[in-house]
């Protein structure tokens, strides 16, 4: 899970063609394409889903590469632990990320007890690297029916929910988005974690 630092690309581009170091365009073109258009997502096929032994989530940071996290455990409170190959771990409560480990800038909701809250509430949020604790105000909009194009399943009917986040100390206002299937499980979500990272999109594939 990574993104290209745009500043580095400003420096790379002239070097690519003025250098005597002979950079192969077969190496360069995917990088440039990714820098301009972002990394393209690859839809999960039915075979991939069937072959998967455990539930998994496809995670993608804005313009970054896609990664897969496998469901490693579920505790008695319904907290899901998703583990990635490169040491990234995400804890979710019905799709809402409560804690991350292994990212360059991690995040943790410190006193979260329930799934996407029905009521407006305040929470302490801990951002890591650098460390900072802030009070986050969370409120939610009403659910509306919607449709999404979801990998091998095609267009499916979902319930859509918007969660509003505000940190007054940082004058920061953001929105997390959730799409629930008809069983009430989150199928897709776009969430904001640490202010130093871009938003993350998660697509969940449950094997239970």
């Amino acid at each position: 899970m990574f993104m290209i630092k745009k500043t580095s690309l400003f420096i790379l581009l002239p070097l690519l063609i003025s250098s005597c170091a002979n950079i192969s365009f077969s190496d360069a073109s995917p990088l440039l394409k990714a820098a301009i258009f972002g990394y393209q997502s690859k839809p999960v096929t039915l075979k991939e889903f069937s072959d998967a032994q455990y539930s998994f989530a496809v995670v993608k940071f804005e313009r970054g590469t896609e990664a897969r996290l496998v469901l490693s455990s579920v505790n008695e409170n319904g907290l899901f632990k998703w583990v990635g190959g490169d040491g990234v771990i995400m804890y979710t409560l019905n799709g809402k990320i409560l804690k991350t480990v292994g990212l360059s800038h991690n995040f943790e909701l410190l006193d979260w007890k329930e799934p996407v809250s029905q009521m407006a509430r305040k929470n302490l949020v801990l951002f890591k690297n650098p460390n900072g604790i802030f009070t986050q105000e969370i409120s939610r909009g009403s659910e509306v029916f919607s449709e999404i194009d979801f990998h091998y399943e095609g267009v499916i009917k979902v319930k859509f929910l918007k969660e509003r986040l505000a940190i007054r100390d940082l004058r920061l206002k953001q929105e997390n988005l959730y799409w629930f299937d008809n069983t009430g499980m989150v199928k897709r979500s776009i969430q904001h974690l640490n202010p130093k990272t871009s938003s993350v999109t998660l697509d969940f594939f449950y094997k239970f």
Binding site: S18, S19, L31
Partner: protein, 726 residues
């Protein structure tokens, strides 16, 4: 006791919350990256600060601040040293008095600035730095200064004292005047100077003045800053304020005189490494610009590496099969190493030790490639093998061998403990007399080639600011034997704007470089920059040799060679090279011109182990038959990036050398792998001279022995030992 404990807990909690609060600031002020002044060095608006980017940072700054447009390249070889090259367009002067020569192009000034940190900031004391502007240029921006910077909460204060052009602030008595009368008056460039001299004689002389300013970090505005300063620039002395009175080529005075000594500016960080800036200077001038910077020193590249070893799908079965016959082991080693671009050349099994010799051009860190070879061998080797001896070849020559205890390799692998593994390895000089039992037949000649774009540029000449061509280039390396190679580069031009180039050389020396205009124009359709046949040999212990013949570089072809003594357990090397060369025709294809010469140097290298600074001293006869020395030094960073500078002094006068007085410049190289998800050994970058002249020009042949034998020194192998499990 309980009270004391409570007190201790309270103190710890207070300290922790203070720590959190200070970290919390980094979200409120998310960008603390040092910003640049309009003069292209770290600072406020017009004045410098005592701030430095971390070592290994490269930056570019561009500013339009009437009557100047200035582009700067800034390098930080160390945390305490800032070196920058300034290219300034001066709008009230012409490049020359001859419109037929330079048209209406305005005057271009090139200069070097440097700044050194004297004291680092502490809780109570500010950072203090000394710097000089226009250190090696025409002197029209020449100034020296001491400056102190202290950050208090979200405000970074700077206070300094300046001389020369920076003596425009609050005037004070020059303190150096108490030491000697010579500091009372500021002198210009020496009479015989052709510009480009370091005019140390005028340092700290003439009037002195105080300047000051503050950079205020604005909360929750993405790291934006407001800058306010009391200007230190003396606009009556800077550039050509009075037009033709100051300089023949100045066609008008500067329109806007200073109306206010206070400047104000705003910096908006688009990202941590890219800033846009706007400022109001002199009370009447709006300036704007941008800067970009990136740090290339760290092992934290832009793109995370994703090319792990290709897994061996049925390792235990292969291991079992390899117990039957040694040949199976050799062949499987060949197969699984090759598929990871680690090319096995030789192998031998002696008792419990498996020896292999391999070549690679993928990993910049030799320990990493050794570690990967060891990992593959460990997966496929029968359990009876307890040691691996892994020899790294380059140009067919054994460069170094690492003997690794297999048990230790396995023991520390899960936690990637490279340090304890060090105790169970031996790093040996490569032995060319080792006899191997297995040598796979490699089809010769083996040809490796690629096609890539190529750009040649000429920037800042009198004919126009930029001339260049874009070409498609073919590069190949043909191996007739592992130590006999042919390097070829050829390129076909696609588009260019060379028609306007017309500056002929005025050099008094043989035109070994200054006929560049003819080379560019006449080779624009097709050219062969290099066609070089190389033969490498290991003459004896620690002594290496090379012979080369062909079109050795774009302007010279010929024959010659070099020898290099590089003791394995030391960090120095001594070499000599001698070449008989003839100047190539301007079309850079096959023909030659009449000029020919013999050139050669004695080269001494030393790499300082703690700072990783490589010093090179090269003395001898150059292409234009002048004799002298070149001093070159660069710092090699953990990532493999290099930032360096050079200068040459030869037996020609400043007058004979021409503009610039002597040859000098700087360069930087960045590992290509910094930008890609795959490991890659080559570096990319460029070098920059203020002006290209003929004096002190050495032959630029490919595959210099010092580079080829880089891994023939224990120091260079062990430097990156931490990556053996990577």
């Amino acid at each position: 006791m309980k009270f004391a404990m409570n007190k201790l807990v309270s103190i710890l909690l207070m300290l922790y919350s203070a720590f959190l609060l200070s970290s919390q600031d980094e979200y409120i002020y998310p960008s603390n990256a040092i910003s640049f002044s309009n003069y292209g060095t770290s600072g406020l608006i017009q004045i410098p600060s005592a701030r430095f980017h971390p070592g290994g940072t490269l930056a570019f700054n561009w500013v339009d601040n009437e009557p100047y447009q200035r582009g700067s390249i800034i390098a930080y070889p160390f945390d305490w040293l800032e070196a920058s090259y300034q290219y300034t367009d001066i709008e009230n002067a012409l490049y020359s008095l001859s419109p037929g020569f330079s048209g209406d192009q305005t005057y271009k000034d090139k200069s070097f600035d440097a700044k050194i940190r004297l004291f680092q900031e502490t809780d109570l004391m500010p950072a203090i730095a000394f710097g000089s502007r226009d250190l090696g240029g025409t002197g029209i921006f020449s100034s020296e200064y001491f400056v102190a910077s202290k950050r208090i909460n979200n405000v970074d204060f700077s206070l300094g004292m300046g001389w020369g052009i920076l003596s425009g602030g609050q005037k004070i008595t020059n303190p150096f005047g108490y030491i000697s009368e010579q500091f009372e008056e500021r002198t210009g460039q020496a009479d015989d100077s052709q510009g480009g001299d370091f005019n140390f004689g005028s340092f700290f002389s003439g009037p002195a003045a105080i300047f000051a300013g503050a950079e205020i970090f604005l909360p929750n505005l993405n790291g934006s800053r407001l800058k306010i300063e009391y200007d230190g620039v003396d606009y009556e002395e800077e550039g050509f304020p009075n037009g033709a009175e100051d300089f023949d080529l100045a066609f008008k005075p500067i329109d806007k005189k200073q109306e206010s000594k206070f400047n104000i500016g705003f910096v908006y960080p688009v990202t941590e490494g890219a800033h846009f800036k706007l400022s109001w200077t002199k009370g009447n001038t709006l300036s704007f610009g941008f800067s970009i910077n990136a740090n290339f020193s760290k092992e934290n590249p832009s793109v995370k590496k994703r090319d792990n070893l290709i897994p061996i799908s049925n390792g235990p079965a292969i291991k079992k099969a390899n117990e039957i016959q040694d040949l199976y082991l050799y062949r499987n080693a060949l197969k699984y190493l090759n598929q990871n671009r680690l090319y096995l050349h030789k192998a031998s099994l002696e008792n419990d030790q498996l020896e292999i010799a391999y070549q690679q051009n993928k990993y910049i860190k030799y320990a990493q490639s050794t570690g990967r070879v060891a990992k593959i061998l460990d997966e496929i080797s029968p359990d009876s093998i307890t040691k691996f001896k892994i020899t790294n070849l380059n140009a067919g020559i054994p460069m170094h061998s690492v003997v690794i205890d297999r048990n230790s390799l396995q023991l520390y692998e899960s936690q990637k403990y490279s340090t304890p593994l060090k105790k169970d390895i031996a790093v040996l000089r490569g032995d060319k007399n080792t006899v191997y039992k297995y040598e796979p037949t490699i089809k010769k000649p083996a040809i490796f080639w690629s096609i890539a774009p190529s750009l040649r540029s000429q920037i800042g000449g009198p004919d126009g600011f930029y001339f260049g061509d874009l070409a498609v280039a073919f590069h190949s390396e043909t191996l007739f034997a592992s130590n006999l190679t042919l390097s070829v580069s050829a390129q076909a031009g696609l588009v260019d704007n060379f028609e306007g180039l017309k500056l002929a050389s005025d050099s008094l020396l043989p035109h070994v470089r200054t006929d560049q205009v003819f080379y560019l124009k006449q080779s624009k359709d097709f050219n062969i920059p290099r066609l070089q046949l190389n033969y490498f040999t290991n003459l004896s212990k620690d002594l290496y040799g090379k012979i080369a013949i062909g079109y050795l570089e774009s302007m010279f072809g010929g024959v010659g060679g070099e020898i290099l003594y590089r003791p394995f357990h030391q960090s120095f090397a001594i070499g000599a090279e001698l070449w008989r060369v003839r100047q190539r025709d301007f079309n850079m294809i096959f023909k030659f011109r009449d000029y020919e010469t013999t050139t050669g140097h004695i080269n001494v290298y030393y790499e300082e182990p703690n700072t990783n600074i490589v010093f090179a001293l090269k003395g001898g006869k150059f292409l234009a038959q002048d004799s002298g020395i070149t001093v070159d030094f660069h710092r090699r960073f953990q990532s493999g990036a290099r930032i360096g500078a050079f200068f040459s002094l030869t037996d020609i006068s400043k007058y004979e050398f021409g503009e610039g007085s002597f040859d000098k410049g700087f360069y930087f190289y960045i590992p290509i792998e910094y930008f890609f998800s795959n490991h890659s050994k080559p570096l990319t970058g460029f070098g920059l001279r203020p002006i290209q002249r003929d004096g002190a020009q050495a032959l630029v042949h490919a595959k210099h022995l010092y580079g080829v034998t880089d891994q023939a020194q224990e120091f260079n192998v062990m430097r990156d030992w931490g990556y053996v499990y990577d």
